[in-house]
Symmetry: C2
């Protein structure tokens, strides 16, 4: 796999940005968009939101950069408690941004809106990768001993056995292509490092993963514990259900924030990637600030440039176990 994407090579990566997503939207999104367009001169933004807000971004840009920004008008936001189905409505910023990606007009989207509507809209409009029943949200923690990809952190609350096995495959591909891990070691999150620990789901997934072909240079190392997510010393990819992953991530964030003097902001992920859909979707924390949104846009650009979505889609097509072993993302 070369990592090339299907978009014409002469075009810059174009990232759709939801201007109305997040607790402090649109101000923080405007700030993040301005930062991103200045930080990466090989990037285009598609601002998705009310004309007045998009114009506010454009007005603050030097004239030479304005041609890298375009606007897709959508006037409805979806609050953090809004209906999940709202993401399918193209009058909403989430709905419009997803459709822009689905049509190929944008290469990726970034939103700090509510996870539920974004995931629902992405599944409907982009479709799932073959063999993937439920997508997973993945974050990368920058531990002292290396990055750790943690998934799922909140897309699905009650995954099946097959979901977790498929998420191990997706996480391994992501760690290799995007997080830069040469030979990803994949662990299954449970309550002890010895086999047989945890609930029924973990015990059966652990048994399956021992013989499951992971993509390319990745390998399954076995059960890992909550602390292994922080340091990056044992595992490069940690697989869990979205309930446990979400609780753990928020606990780690709060623990680091509680000792703010030593707080290394780079440890905590600023944006999550939705893996398992046929398009690049980045979700920032609802409490994101401008720097977080900028990081989310940079991550989206990296997804496009590494060809992650195409690689993952090909993994899905080739997901016969015998074939999967041959796939090197």
């Amino acid at each position: 796999v070369t990592g090339s994407d299907e978009r014409p090579t002469e075009r810059l990566p174009r990232i759709a940005v939801d201007l109305l997503g997040g607790d402090d939207a649109p101000a923080v999104v405007v700030d993040g968009a301005l930062r991103a367009i200045g930080a990466d001169l090989d990037l285009e933004l598609l601002l998705v939101g009310p004309t007045a807000v998009a114009d506010e971004v454009v007005a603050q840009l030097p004239a030479a950069w304005r041609e890298r920004v375009s606007t897709l008008v959508a006037n409805r936001g979806i609050g953090m408690t809004g209906p999940v189905a709202g993401g399918a409505d193209r009058r909403t910023t989430i709905g419009s941004a997803v459709l822009a990606v689905a049509s190929g007009y944008a290469d990726a989207m970034v939103s700090a809106g509510a996870t539920g509507p974004i995931v629902a809209a992405a599944v409907m409009a982009l479709g799932r990768v073959d063999q993937v029943r439920r997508p997973a949200l993945a974050v990368t923690l920058a531990g002292a001993r290396g990055p750790t990809v943690l998934l799922d952190v909140g897309a699905g609350m009650q995954p099946s056995h097959a979901d977790l096995v498929q998420h191990a495959v997706l996480g391994a591909a992501y760690a290799h292509l995007v997080a830069g891990v040469a030979e990803p070691r994949v662990g299954l999150l449970t309550v002890g490092s010895e086999p047989g620990k945890g609930d029924r789901l973990r015990r059966s997934v652990d048994a399956t993963l021992r013989d499951w072909p992971l993509p390319g240079p990745a390998s399954y190392l076995g059960p890992v514990e909550g602390g292994d997510v922080v340091t990056g010393a044992r595992a490069d990819v940690v697989v869990t259900d979205g309930f446990t992953g979400n609780v753990l991530l928020k606990g780690i964030e709060a623990a680091l924030a509680s000792v703010a003097d030593a707080y290394p902001p780079t440890v905590v992920p600023r944006a999550a990637v939705l893996l398992g859909v046929r398009g690049a979707v980045v979700i920032c924390h609802g409490a994101a600030d401008g720097c977080d949104v900028e990081s989310g846009i940079a991550l989206a650009a990296r997804l496009v440039r590494t060809g992650l979505i195409r690689a993952v889609t090909e993994l899905g097509k080739a997901a016969d176990p015998a074939v999967l072993a041959e796939v090197n993302p």
Copy 2:
């Protein structure tokens, strides 16, 4: 409830200590026992283990303190991967210690051994509190804004709806009597603070707890998130399943350890209490050092002095919802 216990008032609290439990036993347990007997002059220890190890403790004590120490001989330890049923064998230190509590010869037990065998032995030998089907392991985190009792952290991997409701009752009683929280606010751990978040189990338990009579001054505040466990700002008691609680606790510990300069050792709990059995059982971390074991012994003494087990047992007897509302632990 007066907090008095059933043991004769003239006798000092007598704590059974498992000399062979923990990764670094017996050395760290010997160290912890010596520290405890010197730190609390109103305490007796029952050393449970090989004679030679117990004699090592006694030999290091000033003569005046030796009368507060006795020995119960048991020569078998149970490794961290030993069979769960091993705890029922009275030749093991865990089995002997639990039986000493069950018979009333000791008032509480402390072990840094494997959780599974300790829980199994405690349920068998001590029995469960009425209305409690599965006990829960509870820890107290000392957040900047106050203590937070987190349960379960590993006794049960797949609790039922009724188990989590009962654990809310146990946690509230524990927070009030032992952690010193005047009016415990009880939260249910999930992925968002709005109602309706999380998996089916959390949604149904949340609905039940809204109308469930918690003991005395406690009240149910609703859903809480992983970060709320760290600060103590929102909830005094956080209820979850043992899988999620274990993963979260280890993640918080590792996050704090990763910024060791600012590491406040008091935030992380050194010992857990098994709630829901008819006896006082304290479990230290397998990697406990002497100070941790000393803390575990001090916690066990506090359980005895506050009359927690008796209060919890009475809560169980009175656990008809209409009656429960009247119970002030």
